[in-house]
């Protein structure tokens, strides 16, 4: 058993931990530019995290152990997911631990406990955030699954490593089913990561916030962990999309050069996706909560169309 896959695994997790704030910084900077504001620079998120880590924690009086352990759990699932998704190479020792469905389950754990933490303090905002988050998540889940299903039907596997290998070896080049599945995936990724038009990550306006409402009472290192985990989650969804729809560049073997190449490819892809995300966030505005049924309904419809395409055309 060679040691190299483990090294790649460690490099990948460190890259994810280190680069996710940079990705957020890139998105925020671009957003400032497109909206005619001057930005705080790409490295602002690092300084934010450092500041939060050095601060003391203020806990509400009746916070229980659920509230205190949730940040660690959310962070833990994000790191674990980062070790499973093939970002640099498909030869990861952790990759067979979980297929795409398990990954969705890992994100669901983080969501479940964040929602519980929102209800722990007993404020109206926390409960409001939890209720909305769980509602949206339950509407997003079927669409997410249909999209995954289409991808895994086309590649005959739910394991991400095998999907990457199948696409890279040219078994399934541009299929119409995958195009539909991809569109559905974009809508779902926007929903799951709490971006505009579903949720506004920059808002603290009481009545419109969803994710922020749940973590309103967090401070200090707890808040830092949750924020960091959120940055990673955005990156992870991008990586999940890349691995299932456009994995070119991810190293098939474990050679140093191919992994370094994969790293460069990853950075480029992140930069491009960031630009796309900023375009979406600048062009669209946040939707009303009850308009989201239509938004997620169309995601489900697109994914179902993808599935039908697979059966009828391919």
């Amino acid at each position: 058993m060679s040691i190299r896959p483990f090294l790649i695994e460690i490099v990948q997790v460190i890259a994810l931990l280190g680069l996710s704030p940079l990705f957020i910084g890139w998105v925020r900077m671009l957003k400032c530019w497109t909206q005619g504001r001057s930005s705080a620079g790409m490295f602002r998120p690092y300084r934010d995290l450092a500041k939060l880590f050095s601060k003391d924690v203020v806990l509400a009086e009746n916070a229980s152990w659920i509230f205190r352990s949730t940040p660690y759990l959310v962070f833990g699932t994000a790191v674990l997911a980062g070790g499973i998704i093939p970002i640099l190479s498909i030869e990861l020792p952790l990759a067979p631990t979980a297929d795409v469905i398990v990954l969705v389950g890992l994100f669901a754990i983080a969501r479940f406990f964040t929602a519980l933490a929102g209800m722990d303090i007993g404020t109206a905002f926390g409960g409001m955030g939890s209720s909305r988050e769980m509602t949206i998540a339950s509407l997003a889940e079927p669409a997410m699954l249909m999209s995954i299903f289409t991808v895994s039907l086309a590649n005959r596997s739910t394991s991400l490593s095998h999907i990457v290998r199948a696409i890279c070896s040219g078994e399934s080049v541009m299929r119409p089913s995958l195009a539909f599945a991809f569109m559905a995936f974009v809508l779902i990724a926007l929903t799951e990561t709490g971006r505009i038009p579903v949720d506004n990550p920059a808002t603290h306006l009481e009545l419109t916030m969803i994710h922020e409402a749940m973590i309103l009472e967090y401070s200090g290192r707890h808040l830092a962990l949750i924020e960091w985990a959120n940055m990673m989650k955005l990156c992870l969804f991008v990586m999940l999309g890349i691995a299932s729809f456009a994995p070119w560049g991810i190293a098939i073997g474990g050679g140093v050069i191919s992994v370094a190449g994969a790293f460069i490819f990853m950075t480029l892809k992140l930069a491009i996706v960031g630009t796309g995300l900023v375009t979406i966030e600048t062009v669209l505005s946040k939707m009303r909560l009850f308009r989201l049924t239509e938004f997620l309904g169309s995601a489900f419809l697109l994914a179902t169309l993808g599935m039908l395409c697979y059966f009828i055309l391919e």
Partner: protein
Amino acid sequence: MIPSPIDIASASLLLFLLFAALAPLLRKNQRLLVYVFSLLTAAASIMGAAAGAIAVGRGSTERLVLLLGLPDLPFHMRLDPLTGFFLVVIGLLAFFVSVYSAGYLKGFLGKRKVTRLVIFCSLFVAGMFMVVLADDALFFLVSWEVMAAASYFLVMFEDERPENRRAAFLYLVIAHVGAIAILLSFGIMAGAATGFQNFSGYTFDAMRQAKFSPGWATAAFLLAFFGFAAKAGVVPLHVWLPEAHPVAPSNVSALMSGVMLKTAIYGIIRVTFDLLRVFPWWWGTIVLALGLASAVMGVLYALMQHDLKRLLAYHSVENIGIILIGIGLAMIFASFNMPLLAALALVAGLYHTLNHAMFKGLLFMGAGAVLHATEERNMEEMGGLIHLMPWTAALFLVGCVSISALPPFNGFVSEWLTFQAFLLSPSLPSPLMRLLLPLGAALLALTGALAAACFVKAFGVTFLGRWRGHRTPHIHEADWSMRSAMMMAAAACLCLGIFPTVVIGWMDVIPGRLVGSKISATAGAYGWMWLTPVAAGRASYSGPVVFLGMILILAAAYLALHVKAGKIHRGPAWDCGFEKMTPRMQYNATSFSMPIRRIFGFLFDVRERVRLAPQPAHPAFPVRLNYSLRVRDRLWSWIYRPIIDVSFLASRKIGNLQRGRIQTYLIYSFMTIIVLLVLAR
């Protein structure tokens, strides 16, 4: 020498019946009665479970003919792996519940006699054991009735409340409508087995050897499925379940929801895969479609509830649906002669059967502990119990995580296996099935996500936040016996989630017998840590790695941050700077599910009313707001109301025959004689 499994099972049955017979002698000393009950039923249950575990492990089949029954029609017992598996499911949960009862029933001491409760409780468990052990139609139906009647008396235990009497009556009616259907189904199978010549077809062995014509087989299946579906609470026959389960004492609710419904699952599997054996594909689609309907409707109903036990009861409808999805898929695959896929789907269904028994038992025991402590079932009046009942809260949370299908707990494994079975449906030869089945998977995903939402609500409103009630009762933590029972159930949930490969290897003999294929050769190909149901390339999951990985990263993050940790200050909640917060301002069960009610409300009969009482001087500032909400089951008014009306009308019309006038009766007699003379000439 180790006694054979069927001997252990018979001894366990005898122990239950012995206790039921001797319990009245101990009625004077209620405390002693509770302890003896707890001890004996625990011993008997664990014996039953052990017998089942050995039978499954060995893959053995044993028979026993009892010296009971009608002349020339003796009772038969048979312990094969399928029976053994259900003995384990029933015995394991009955064992936990017996331990739990020692503490729970003490709450009744001094308030009400528990003699009746303990007698019927042991008869109830014995009845469930007999149902799965029975090997002929007669013994099966007798056991089925013992189980139904005993549980009727358990639901009726607190019979001073009218709603309990109503629930018990409804339960009895639907149980018997189901039992009639099962009786007719066995009648058809027994008759078809001997060509309607004699009674010897009543044993299951005779039915196994018979060749059924498609017409008789279909009739037998439809009747049996109707009967068992009524017992399992499949939509639209679920109405009794949310009425009967919550009003029973909580230890009984755990048994009813956790394992009694499973006897119906057993019946469906036994009749289709073992007795009838050959079936067309559309039987499977009926089971699958009703399973999907139950899963989605069950969880949506549960979301509308604010009574903790009722919410859990509706989740039983949901989980029975998930089990039936697995079984329906297995039937479809089996009818297209794809044994490996059928085995996978059947294992998924059976695994969920075991899982549901464990986590639903745990949740009902937790709800019982809450009820015991607060004397409250309405979640709107609760909150913040995590501070007062830390053990119960943590254990209840394990149940919530398991039922919400989150890794690494057990509910996830069985749902994941069901998803894998769905993913393999494109290999079916029928194009229609290939198109429609993946949509079923989407519904299953919706169910899972809604279940998570529902348990965030259940746990969040009950245990988190602050106490919402007007009165503050004296709340105490559950005692050691209740806690240890819940701990065992929680440990079972975790172990079944982390070591699925071992469990599947153990139970693989069942699909081997029923559909002629095993999956452990591929599922466990990479050792106990990896679950690869079809092939490593298709899908893999490792419970131990997920569990360990999460623990390790959590510990690492915690330690790294606590090397030089800043202080933790306690202060009032920030809440965006809002000061005058009261506990009544928290989100409660009704407000939590409001968005879902608005989105899926068209499925229910929802009536929502808001009444404002404005201030005369300033109409913009109302003094009081009244909000009332009523959510009703549409199926009740669509299906049950007309049936009730028609049966009342019919009984009134038939009642007209009896006027109490001697002349009328003489005319009836005269007419009867004339008719008989004409017919029997």
